[in-house]
Symmetry: C2
């Protein structure tokens, strides 16, 4: 990574936003999409960062994603709602839906929101952050295109969908934030290894004939494996039921793969819950208890090879703090793709973005 | 298992209920406790079955669990409630809390209930079943006494708490039911191996010095490992926050071990959610979609070694159907313990219960 050039997050975000604006995405929406993507790069989740800009732009350009959606909201009861995403970018459906859940939680203690007619929404932690910044705990679930076998199978059926949960931890402490793919690794990591022509470890994926492989391309064309076997498979199925079956979205293998299907919208479904953590005690007591939990966890005897105990979200928080200062790394291919897209649609490219690309390509 | 004697579930349940009644537990409560325990044996979850009767009885007798509790309910908003279990048997706190969540869900679409001042509540699926039998989806979380290290640690800190989710699947199909410990295996399985003087596989547990072990007793005195490493650890921490920190129960290592601490009540916390699966479509449509999900899953290509694909809950459902007919197996030690307890408190013992014990002991 030391040889990978870095760029200020704000500069990348501004540049990426302008690329989306060129696809008729309104400025505020384009800004939010760019923010989510750059947030992923900031947190070290580069599998869900600006390296994905080309596919989102491509699908907008083809009319497979709606740049000017009219989302509608059904609200049958005070704490439940469904958002029809009108085939908007998943980032916007996610942001809108979580905001509704947040508003419900503020008024009624909790909110439960399902979304359908959506698309790939990037890093789930983007929506967790919305909630924790509002002082709320949250769940974020999504379904996804088939990439992982159900337990006992070898054909792609379930998504590698993230299970995401967060709870605020009080001032001065990062929120506890769990955002984890149900596969041994995120499919995006296999894709990235493929793009970089790097091998993958055994146990990450099967090839399309159901055999273990270290070839990233073969693994990407095959299936990634669920973590914990039957347990990861069960959790992904749970998300398929909540986000897919119950929402009205595609499900059971029907969610379209944004990289492979250029005929249909994806029709992804999501599930968002926001919960007041101080339902039954003053916020101060809750935060005190979270502080206790954290300090007791960190004081436990460590296993060999660990210098300290980090709670979920802390590693990403640290990367974010550092990259916020140093900038985010973008490799040659990512830069080249962004620059090519800018050139194609007439967006001015910051000078720094061109230089590394001219050194050669991977 | 072929040499283990089997007994009709109803007979065992009636016998176990009478044991609890002898400890001043009111008949209806004793019946529910016995039902939950026998349900676990019926479903093949014998680690949470009637083999645990002695510890519950012992704690009742010592006054560490309240046989005649007065549970109270706070309900700050229409869909959120907290149950003070008044140190009742966990089965009763769980049943009461889930019933409140069910009633909320019927009226408002969903319900979120936390409980504190509770005790070990047995098999989480008992409460899932309450919800699915009412036509609802549900989550059940609990915290537990420290048995598993947090990621990076080697001392017991987190519970092996079950993550439990269920969704009804329509008539003729068993509900999808996920009830899984966050450890590689349930701690109860290590305890059971210890009781039977059987070894455990490597990877299940560390001994108290942090080394891997195949000795069940050493593993039971040490820690079981989280499944999926950082992922299982993160999910258990999530339950600690929801069920422990937010509920007002003990947390962060303070939940008392019912087998080791005979000074204090456990003060376990739980979290229950019930959700109408037909919030945004007629129940018939939801059930049709669940049927589709199931039949598509079962039609996917199978991995080597699998004759068919089973959804979460199906294996247990099959065992339950068979044991409902054939009876539940109780080993010599389990029987001996039950009989000894009955003799101690003057409960009549069915003749069949004495016979196998007289053959000798393990």
């Amino acid at each position: 990574m030391t040889s990978t050039p870095v760029f200020p997050a704000a500069q990348v975000q501004d540049f990426v936003a302008r690329l989306f604006e060129q696809q008729k995405v309104p400025p505020a929406d384009a800004g939010r999409v760019a923010e989510c993507l750059v947030q992923a790069d900031l947190r070290g989740v580069s599998s869900h960062g600006v390296g994905r800009v080309p596919i989102y732009i491509d699908r907008l350009r083809r009319g497979l994603v709606n740049a000017l959606p009219t989302m509608t909201v059904e609200r049958p009861a005070t704490v439940t709602a469904r958002v029809d995403g009108d085939n908007a970018l998943g980032f916007l459906v996610g942001t809108r839906s979580m905001q509704i859940a947040i508003d419900m939680a503020r008024e009624h203690g909790m909110g439960f929101v399902l979304a359908y007619h959506s698309n790939h929404f990037g890093m789930a932690a983007s929506y967790l952050k919305q909630a924790t910044e509002a002082g709320l705990a949250a769940f974020v679930f999504t379904n996804a295109s088939p990439a992982m076998p159900i337990w006992g199978g070898r054909a792609p059926f379930l998504g590698t969908s993230p299970f995401a949960f967060a709870a605020p931890a009080g001032s001065g402490r990062p929120a506890v934030m769990l955002d984890m793919a149900m596969s041994v690794v995120a499919r995006g990591k296999v894709r990235r290894a493929m793009q970089r022509s790097e091998p993958i470890p055994l146990g990450w994926a099967l090839d399309k004939d159901g055999r273990e492989t270290t070839d990233a391309k073969a693994g990407y064309e095959g299936v990634v494996l669920p973590f914990g076997g039957v347990k990861g498979s069960g959790l992904s199925l749970m998300m398929e039921i909540l986000a897919g079956v119950m929402s009205g979205a595609n499900f059971g293998g029907d969610v379209r793969n944004q990289y492979l299907d250029f005929e249909h919208p994806q029709n992804v479904g999501h599930c968002f819950m926001a919960i007041r953590p101080d339902l039954f005690m003053p916020m101060q007591s809750y935060e005190h208890r979270m502080g206790e939990l954290s300090s007791r966890a960190k004081a436990t005897q460590r296993a060999e090879g660990f210098d300290e105990i980090l709670l979920p979200g802390e590693p990403e928080e640290r990367v974010e703090a550092q990259r916020g200062q140093d900038g985010i790394p973008l490799d040659a291919q990512e830069l080249q793709q962004l620059v090519a897209e800018a050139d194609r649609c007439g967006v001015e490219v910051p000078l720094a973005f061109r230089a590394p690309v001219s050194d050669g390509s991977t």
